[in-house]
Amino acid sequence: MTNRRRPFTRRTVLRGVGVAMSLPWLESLSAWGDESPAEAAGLPKRFAALFMGNGINPNHWWAKGSGAEMELSQTLQPLAPFKSRLNVITGLFNKQATGVGIHPGQTGNILSGAALQKGAVLKGGVSMDQVLADHFQEATPQASLVLGCEQPITGYHETNFSMAYSSHISWHDAFSPVPMEVYPSLAFDSLFDNQGSKRTRSILDRVGEHAAFVGRQVSRSDRARLDEYLTSVREVEKQIERARAMKSVAEERAKDRGQPTISLQRPDNGLPEDIRDHMRLMGDIIALAFQTDKTRVATLLLCRDLSGLFYPFLDVRLAHHPASHDDRSDAYERVSRYYVSQLAYLAGRLADMREGETTVLDNSCLMFVSNMWSGSQHDSTKLPLLLVGGLGGALDTGRVLDYATRGDQNRKLCSLYLSLMDRVGVNLPQFGDADARLADV
C-alpha cells in the first residue's frame, strides 16, 4: 500500500526548453479515430474576446466600404491585412451598462448583458464565453482560457460597484468571476496541466488504488461489486488518457512527415517586464491553444477598466485611465491603435496556421470590444466592436455595419452574442437583455 507510488512526472515533461507543439487539426483528426460525428463533419469553431478598457479615440475609429476595398481609419490600420475577414460594427450597446454610473457598472456585464448589483455581494450573470465553454466542455481538454495582462482589483468604485466588475469580463455564474490568469508561464502550463486532465488523473489513480486495497479486504462477492467501481474509475481514466495519447500519436506522425511545427517556448516564470511582451505572449498562448484544439474559447483582458498600465514605448506619459480622459488626443490614438494591433497580431498568428484548405483564423471569430466609446465622456451608449474571422463560413465578413440609428431594440450587444453563439452551435432563445438575433449579421 505504501510502496505503490509510481514516480510522478507531473509537468516535468513540459517544463523543458522549447516544447514543440505540432498539431494541425486535420492531423489530429485522422489520429483521433473515434471523434464525434459533429466534430468530424467540420473543423472546430473557436471564439475569443479581447477587451480593452476605457474606450478608444472616437475621431479615428471608422471604416468605409467593404471587402478588400474597405477603407480603414488610422486606428484600424493594423487590420489592413485582414479587411476581407473583418467586420467593423458600431452602434451596439449594452442596456444594463448604461445609466448606472461610470466604470465598473459599464464593464462587468459586457459579455453577459446582466444587471450588476452594487455593494459587498457580487451579482451579475454568466458571460457568453462561459456559455460557449460549457458547450465545448467535453470536446476539448480545457473548457476555456481566461487570461489577463493586468492584475484584477476588488475594491470599491465611488459608484459603489465592486472593482471586481472592472477587472472581470468572464463570469462563471451570477456570483463568481472566472479566476483570470495573468502570468504567461502559468497560462502556458494550464494548457497542459489543467483540472480536466492531470489533477483528475492523479485523483482517479489514488481512488483506483484505494478501491483495489479495499477490494482485497472484502469477500469475493463484494469484491465483484467493487470491481464494477474500479472498472468505472479505470474507464474514466482511460477516457482522459485517450485524448493525450491521441495527441501524441498525431504529433509523432506530423513529425515523421516533416510537417512544419509551430513551437512556443514556455514563458519564463514571473511577469514580463514589458507590457508588449506580456500581451504578445498571451496572444501566442491563445493561438497555440486554438491550433492544438486544447480549447475553443478564450477571453483576454488586455487591460482592465480603470487600467493603470503605462505605455512609455508609445511616448505616452500618463497611465491608461488618466490618458483616456483625453481620448481625442494623438497619444490616446496611439494607445488605441496599439490595442488594435494586438488583435491584428493574434489574427496573424491564426492566419498562418493552415487547417485543411483554410486557416485557423477562418474557423475562428476574434471579437475586440471596449466598454466605452469615449473615455472622456465615459460614454457607453455605443461601443467600438471588431470581429475578425468567419467561423468557417458561418459568418459573413468584410463588412462595415452601423446600428446606431436603428433604435435601441435593434442594436443590442446581446443580440450580436445570440447571433454569434448560433454560428458556433449554441442556440439560445434569449441571452442577457436580448431575445432576438441582430439583424444583418
Partner: protein
Amino acid sequence: MEFGRRQFRFASLAGAILLGGTASCLRAADGAEPAGDSRFQTAVQPFLQAYCLDCHGAASQEAKLDLSGYSSPADVAAAFRIWQRVLERLEAEEMPPDDAPRRPTEAERSDAVKWLRALRDDEARRHAGDPGDVPVRRLSNFELDCTIRDLTGIDLRPLSEFPVDPANEAGFDNSGESLATSPAWLKKYLAAARQVADHLVLKPTGIDFAPHPVVTDTDRDKYCVARIVDFYRRHAVDYAEYFLAAWRFSRRETLGRSTASLDDFAAEAGLSPKYAAAVWSVLTDSQEEAGPLAELRSLWRQLPEEAGGVDDARLGCRRMSDFVIETRKRFVPTVDRLRVKGISDGSQPLVLWRNRQLAAGRMLSAKEDGTAARFCRIFPDVFFIAERPPYFESNGGTKGRLLTAGFHLMQGYFRDDGPLCELVLGDDERSQLDALWEELNFITGVPARQYKDFIFFERAEPPRFAMGSEFDFARSEDKAAASAAKIERLRAAYLAKARQIGASDQAVEAIEVYFTSMAADIRWVEEARLAAEPSHLAALARFAERAYRRPLLRAERDELLAFYHELRGEEGPDHDSAMRDCVTSVLVSPCFCYRLDLGDFGREAAPDVTTASTTAGENGQAPAFRARPLSDYDLASRVSYFLWSSMPDEELLAHAAAGDLHQPDVLLAQSRRMLRDERVRGLATQFAGSFFDFRRFDEHNSVDRERFPAFTSDLRQAMYEEPLRFFVHLARENGSLLDLLYGDYTFANQVLARHYGIPWPAGEADGWLRFDAVGRWGRGGLLPMAVFLTKNSPGLRTSPVKRGYWVVSRLLGERIPAPPPSVPELPKDEAALGELTLPQLLARHRELKNCAVCHDRFDSVGLVFEGYGPIGERRDRDLSGHPVTEAAVFRDGSQGSGIDGLRDYVRRRRQDDFVDNFCRKLVVYALGRGLLPSDELLVENMRTRLVADDYRFGSLVETIVSSPQFLTRRASAE
C-alpha cells in the same frame, strides 16, 4: 381470512422454535412431508407439467415466468421469491385461468398449495433471523446528497441534478440490485465531488466548507466578511433592552424574583451581562450630579414603580435610548483629514490614519469640561463599524461597503469595534471575533492585495504621487511586489519623496506606520499559512474518518497524507489545490460512496453466531447460514442510512467508539432519538417517497397549465412537500401508522391551503402549518392529498383507474399484473367525453371479462375520488359539465361514497392488508434487500407489536433494529 391463516402458520412456527423445534414438528402440524424429494417428484412436478408449463415454461414464458428447470425442493427454495407469487396465485385460484384448456382438481390444487406453504415455512424456520445476502453497494444519489450535507455542514446537493436512481423490485433505490456504477455516473460524480471541494475553506487551524464556492478572491472576501458582519449583527446593542433589564432587576421584588441577579435578567433578554452591569452602574451609582448622565438618571427615575407597568417601562426605556443616541452625537470628536499636497486624499496611509483617529475616539468626549466623559465612555459613538462609506463621503451616503477601509478603487478592510470588544463582549466572544478578523486576513490574503492596489493607485491615478523612474520597479502585477525587499524599497522611495515635498511630520509618521504594518500583515499571512498546513492535514484525516464513517486504518491515513505530499511534490500544485484534490479523492473513494459496512471490510475476526440452523445441524443437516454480529461502527451506519439516508452523526459514532451501540437499550434509545431528529426527512423522502410513489413529483410536467393556471411550480412543490411533512411528523411525533389512512389533519403552506380552500390563519406568515379537522375541506391523511390525485391523473381528466390502482397496489399491496397491450384508450380530455361520464365508460370496460379480472379490483376504489379534479381540486362537476358521483360498490359488495366511504371499507376489510404491506416494505427498505421467507417472523412480530403499541410508527422501527436480520450479517464464505 388471509390474516387468520398467517396467524396460524406463525403460531406453529414460533412454537417450533421455542421447542428447539425440529423439522418434524412442522411436518406434523401440516400433515405432509413437504421438503421431501419424493413429494416434489410425485405430485408437484406432474402438477406443473400438466397445468403450468404450457404457458410458463421454457418455450413460452408468459408474464416472464419460467417454471421449468426446478428439479428439487432446494431449487424451489432458492428461488422462493418467484414461487411466493405462484403460491399467491394458486391460493387466490387465479391460476390457471378459467379459460385454460386443463384445470386442476380442487385436491390437486390444494396439494400443491400445501406443499409450497410447507416448503416456505420449513425454509423460514431453518433460516429464521437470516440477515440474508446484502452486498456492498454504492450510496444512492439521494443518500450522497444527504451524506455530503452532514459531512460538510452545508446542504450543497451536488447530485440534485442527477436522476433518482432506478428502483429495485420493491420500489426502493437503496439496494445493490439497482445501484449500479457506470463510467458515466462516475464521471458526473467526480465533477460533483470537485464542486464540493470548491467550497473548501482553509482556516488558520483547520478546514471548513462555505455555503458558496470559495475559489476566487471575491468568493473569499464574501465568505469572511459575511461571517464578521453576522457576528456584529448578533451582538448589536439596543440601549432600550439594557435599560429594561435594569428596570426589571430594580423591580425584582415586585416581580416575585427577589433572588434573580442582574445577570439573570440580562441572560433572559439575550443581553451581555458585562454591559448590563456597566449600564446598571451608571444608572444607579451616585457620581455625576450634572451633565447628560444626570439627565439620563432623571429619565430612569421616571420609569414606573410598579412591575405591572411593563409597557410604560418599555416606552420609557425607548425614550432613554433616544435621549442617549441624540445626546451622544453632540460629543463626537471631529477628525480632519490628513492632507499632503501632491498625495491623494484617498491615499491609503492618509485614509488609514484618519480611521485610526476615529476608532480611538469612539468612547471619548469632544467636550473638555469632563461632565460627559463617563457618559461618553459607557455610551460610545458607535459600538462597531460594519459599513464604511468612501473617504470622500464621510456622511455615508453609500451603503453596502461592508467592513471596508473606505478607499477609492482599492481593496482594504478596517477593523473598528473597540467599544463592542471593551464594553459588551465576554472573553470567549472577544476571542471568536478576533479569530474571525484573523481569518479574514488569512483566507483572503487581503494585505498583499491591498498593498498591490496601493501601488497601482499611487502610480496611475491622479495625482500620481509615485510617478518617476525611482518608482518604476513597483508593479502591482508583479507577484514579488509584496516581498519584504520590494516593500522596503518602495517605502524608502515614497518617504523620500514625501519629505522632499514637505509632508508634515504627522503625515510622514502615517506613511511609516502604513509601510510597517502592511509589511507585518503580509508577512503574518505568509507565515500563518505555512504554519497552518499541518493542522489542515490533521483536519483532512479527520474529514476522511468522518467520510468513511469509521476510524481510518493506519495504512489509509499514511496513504492519504502520502497522496497530499505527492501532489505537492516537485512543482506540483499549491497547498490549496492539493487540499481540494485530497478532499475530492476522499469523496470519490469507495470508502465514502459505498456502503462498505454491509461487507466484511476491515473486520477483526468476530465469532460467528450460528442461529436456528444449529438445531438443524444437530439433526445432521448443514447449517442453513452463518451470521456474525455487525461491528458497532457498521451498526451506526446501518441505522443512520435506514433512518436518515445519511451518515451517522457524532453521537452515534461516539457510541460506536465506546463499543456499546449494539446494546439493546442504547440502540433503542438512539433509534428513538434519530426518529425525533429532523434528518428523518431522509426516511420520508427515500422510503415514503418511493413507497407512495411521489419521488419525482417535483418535476411532474403532465398538467396543462393553460387549462389549470392554479398549477404553478410553487403549488407543485407544495403538493410534493405535503406527504413529506406528514410522514416526518408521523416519525418525529411517533404517531399512529393509521393516521396515514384516517388522520383528520394535514400540513399545508399558503399556496396549498388556498388550493384546498383552507382559510389561512390571519396574521400568520407563509410557511408550513398543521391543520386539524380538515375533513370539512375534504382532506386528511394520504388518500386525498393533491400530489397523489394529480400524479394519477393523465392531465385533462381524472383517472379512477390509476387512482384506484395506486390505492390497491401501493397502499394495500395487491399485486396486479400489467395491462395487456391492446387496452382501449379513454379520451384524453374529460371535456370531450360527450354523453357518457368516465364512471360509465369504465363500467362498460368492465363488461369485458378479461378486463374485469383486474378492473374489478381497483375501479371502484378509484371512483370514490371523482369529487377531486385532475389537480386534486374539489369539484361538483367534471370538465364536461356532468355532476360527479363519488359512489362505488366495493369488492365485498358493500357500497360507499367518497373518501369516507373508502375509509370505512378499508377499516372494515383492508386495514390489515395496509399494515402488512407497510411492514413488509419497511423491512425491505431497512435491510436493503428483498424479503425472504425467513423474514415472515419479523413481519409478524412487527404487526403484533404495532397493534399492542397503538399503531405507533416507532414500534415498527424498534422491532426492525432489534431483529437479528438487522444486527448481523452473513459470514462470508471465505
